[in-house]
Amino acid sequence: MQNNYDVIIIGAGAAGLTAGIYLSRAKVKTLILNEGAVGGQMVLTHEIANYPGVENISGYELARNMKSQAQKFGCKIRSNIKITDIQLTEEIKQVTINNKETFTSDAVIISTGGKSRTIGAIGEDKFKGLGISYCATCDGDFFQDKEIIVVGGGNSALEEAVSLTKYASKVTVVHQFDHFQAFEHYVEEARNNPKINFKMDSEIVEFSGNEKLNAVRIRNKISGDISEMNIDGVFILIGYVPNTEMLRGIIELNGNNEIKVDNNMATNIPGVYAAGDSIAKRFRQVTTAVADGTIAALSCAEYVHNNKKEPLEV
């Protein structure tokens, strides 16, 4: 059957593409299904300077290289699809995309990574691209001499708050706690920057404007007081959440909705493995995603081989 594969990989980020490279090279018939653009979070990264053996590379280029490497070994990749049904518990796994095409496989690797956390405040969707941004390097220069807010208290929020002072006349960091989660040197640098000030214990509850964003309502979490602030732009940099919504109630997840795996990247369902940022782990990097993808692929190849009793060519 044309739609039958040995392994289906869900997600084409660093973890999924690595698994695709290993499996296809071992002649395991592999399909990668990806909801967005191939590359996942790598594409969000302007420059990767800590991938061993490659001094400096744009995330896009690294993703493109991984994609073509996987395809050269015969891996099929379908991107910009939507998974509309998934059946993992039976021996033959089944994945339907766009409500119309169904694929089956002996095993599945889940490498769905993570996505930017949104605030969920009123008006957030409406003003995306009209004052609200999730990418400081992309959109910073639209805010030359303007007043902006950076939401968040982690490394990216404070690092970007400093870098946005190249453009903005004033940067207000709005953070929900009374202390930061960022490394001390990022906090120091932000505190020493005269253009940056801070609103702690605070959260944005509403974005407003006509054709573009021009104000936010901020709630102080201690007093409950709400204040209004006129603003030209808001950068939301509050971390990432795992893309595991479709797996809830199917696969065992931890309290943060991350997939629980063992040392072989096996989940609680036989024949289902997981790798990369969507699993429960401490450090989320390209290198760790690549390592997880490798382990998942090798474990999965072994599983498929044992199921089929075919020679293994890893």
Partner: protein, 114 residues
């Protein structure tokens, strides 16, 4: 030049020619950045499905890209890429920042028909 497989619009003349020679046109004006790349990728895929539409890109920082940057429809935009949809040379829709393939498809179907 942008590293895509789309038609590249490099000048005002090319922009005018593209609009004169095609009834339905979608131009993504951006950089090789994280919010733009997914849009180019969706366009490259959609190019095979919509033969009635011309898909193109333009470098945001090229001086001639003012033809898009300065459109009244893009006046309030503050997020890359700027995507403009033209029918018979007239702007029928413009969006700012990243859009998913589904969002793009919805616009194409609504403005240009399937």
């Amino acid at each position: 030049m942008l590293q895509t497989n789309l038609t590249h619009v490099a000048s005002l003349t090319e922009h005018t020619e593209l609009l004169n020679n095609n009834e339905n046109v979608m131009i993504c004006c951006g950089r090789m950045g994280p919010m733009c790349i997914p849009v180019y990728e969706s366009m490259e895929e959609l190019e095979n499905e919509y033969s009635n539409i011309k898909f193109a890109d333009m470098e945001f920082d090229s001086p001639d890209a003012k033809v898009i940057r300065e459109l009244p429809e893009c006046r309030n935009f503050a997020g890359l890429p700027f995507v403009v949809y033209y029918k018979n040379g007239k702007v029928v829709k413009a969006t700012s920042s990243i859009q998913s393939r589904d969002q793009i498809t919805e616009i194409l179907d609504e403005k240009f028909g399937k």
